[in-house]
């Protein structure tokens, strides 16, 4: 079942990637035409942009599924829990202080710190609500620190660019970003997939998972490192994009069931397809200035998040 869902979602991602080559503010009859203008638009602008969107969506979808399994909480997500906010802080610090080449490293390190804090605080929280509150606290803290860093930055000229960047976008991304986010996605995915069986065991709760033989320290370490790599890479490439990590696993559960290990791959594939599609919509909207992808994701994902939270609360899961 989960294999068929994965194939379907991979196909959806490929279709969305092709559509992204065709569709855009400049209509193209044939994106594979040989003329210079078409080649530039398609292969230097649209293709890297769409690929970055797919990679970022996949990284966030995978991170969401892994964090939900680890924390046994369907509202866990890199954005909601503050990993993305901290990753952005790490990158902003590097940009603002003139060492832009260290931005990806800063994003990963700060995402790692946030993942560590949130899993330590969230490990024993009872209901989804308290975990989300921890995330709200961390996100606000990261937002405050970003503002502080921008205020103290020695190079205020780049400020508006940076603020824009934290809103989340894949506009103007190049193959360099593809390699960066893609490499980190691969590394993060390797770590997270290695934790799959531990996540499965955690279905029984912490105590019984250990009793059936799961090494929970190993599972936690793998997920925290994997989530940091995926979120760090995604945020360094595209800024803060929220809710993909909630929407993708939620969608996949309806198709492939609830087993946390078998959710990982389809959630990544769903996240990729979702974000490429959202980016196509953003590019086609007839607005003067292009709507930020992070804003669009929040417009779609915010209500989905509220809906899941309300449903959990009505089921008494919010204790």
């Amino acid at each position: 079942m989960s294999a068929r869902v994965s194939i379907g979602l991979a196909a959806a991602g490929v279709v969305a990637l092709f559509a992204a080559l065709w569709l855009g503010p400049t209509p193209l009859a044939n994106p594979f035409a040989g003329d210079e203008a078409t080649r530039t638009i398609v292969w230097e602008i649209r293709f890297p942009r769409a690929l970055v969107a797919w990679i970022v969506g996949a990284a966030l979808g995978l991170t969401g599924a892994a964090l939900q399994g680890l924390l046994r909480n369907p509202l866990a997500d890199a954005g909601v829990l503050g990993l993305s906010g901290f990753a952005a802080l790490g990158a902003v610090l590097a940009f603002a202080f003139g060492v832009a080449t260290l931005a990806p490293l800063g994003a990963i390190l700060f995402a790692f710190a946030a993942a560590l804090v949130v899993t330590m605080l969230g490990w024993r929280t009872r209901g989804p609500a308290s975990l989300v509150l921890i995330g709200v606290g961390l996100s606000s803290f990261a937002g405050g620190l970003i503002a502080l860093a921008l205020n103290l930055a020695p190079n205020p000229g780049a400020l508006s660019d940076l603020v824009n960047w934290t809103l989340g976008s894949v506009e103007g991304r190049s193959m360099e970003h593809v390699l960066l986010a893609g490499g980190l996605l691969l590394a993060g995915a390797a770590l997270i997939f290695a934790a799959g069986r531990g996540l499965q065991a955690l279905t029984l709760g912490e105590e019984a998972a250990a009793a059936i033989g799961a090494n929970l320290t190993r599972t936690r370490t793998l997920v925290v490192l994997g989530a940091a790599a995926c979120t760090g890479g995604a945020t360094a490439a595209a800024g803060v994009i929220g809710f993909v990590g909630i929407a993708a696993p939620h969608l996949v559960r309806a198709l492939a069931g609830h087993d946390p290990a078998r959710l990982l791959l389809p959630s990544a594939l769903a996240g990729g397809a979702l974000l490429v599609s959202a980016d196509i919509v953003v590019r086609l909207l007839p607005t003067d200035a292009e709507l930020k992808l992070g804003v669009a994701a929040a417009l779609i994902g915010g209500p989905v998040f509220a809906l899941i939270a309300a449903r959990l609360a009505s089921r008494g899961g919010d204790q």
Binding site: S2, A201, L204, A208, A211, I212, G213, A261, R262
Partner: protein, 252 residues
């Protein structure tokens, strides 16, 4: 596989919750842990499995110090069913039971023939075969409890440690669990179970350990469950009667 504690004490913070307890459980026998809430039953089980550190004394699980075992080594020696077991994600019953094969290296979606046989046997023992495809959130309380018990049985460990496996079950379901436990002992496993249902314990167990405030109040066969011991344990006058051969405990 035998489990033993020698003079074991456990501290939680500044409080001594287990105080100089010595017990042994050997293969083929069912030992029931009795005592009021907070007597130290769960702590004793966890200490025996090496999940709670001992302040004093020693634990032995089949010749090893259980606190030095890896989670996997421990799971191959002992199956532990905690109080109030959880199924956080609504897996199918057979997938949940298959998690019992974790330490044997099996993923629930790719079971080897021996793993599948163990899962099938556990489902059959708990009368869950017809419900195997159902989701956990579609089961009644009794069915859920049986599914978690089946998970522990599927582990096929020589020692079974069951913390209040009949809590919240109706009398018929609870008796069903007692029969399952007896059958496991009949197959040569050692079973340690805690319960508040003394009549059920009398039906299922060979030996009884009565705890109060972290100490062993009485230990032995059914004859140790005297009115005096029960009153000392639970703080209420008690009578033990037989009704058509079945034991009944009456508290005043």
């Amino acid at each position: 596989m035998s489990l033993s504690l020698q003079n074991a004490s456990v501290d939680l913070g500044a409080r001594r919750v287990l105080d100089g307890v010595s017990i042994t459980i050997t293969p083929g026998e069912v030992v029931a842990l009795l005592g009021p809430n907070g007597a130290g039953k769960t702590t004793l089980m966890r200490a025996g499995l090496g999940l709670t550190p001992l302040a004093e004394g020693a634990a032995r699980l089949g010749g090893d110090d259980p606190s030095r075992l890896s989670p996997r080594q421990r799971a191959l020696k002992a199956a532990y069913l905690p109080q109030r077991p959880q199924a956080i994600w609504p897996l199918a019953v057979e997938a949940l039971v298959a998690l019992g094969r974790y330490a044997h290296g099996a993923a629930p979606e790719r079971l080897s023939p021996p793993d599948q046989a163990a899962v099938d046997a556990a489902l059959a023992a708990c009368a869950l075969a017809p419900l195997r495809k159902r989701r956990m959130d579609e089961l009644s309380g009794g069915e859920k409890a049986r599914a978690h018990l089946a998970r522990a049985l599927a582990q096929a460990a020589p020692l079974l440690v069951l913390d209040e496996p009949t809590a919240g079950l109706d009398p018929a379901q609870a008796l069903g669990v007692a029969d399952i436990v007896r059958a496991q002992a009949g197959a040569g496993r050692a079973v340690l179970l805690s319960t508040h249902d003394i009549a059920l314990a009398l039906r299922a167990a060979d030996r009884f350990v009565v705890l109060r405030a972290g100490r062993v109040l009485a230990e032995g066969g059914a004859d140790v469950l005297t009115p005096d011991v029960l009153e000392a344990a639970y703080g209420r006058k008690a009578r033990l009667e037989r009704l058509d051969g079945a034991p009944v405990v009456l508290f005043e």
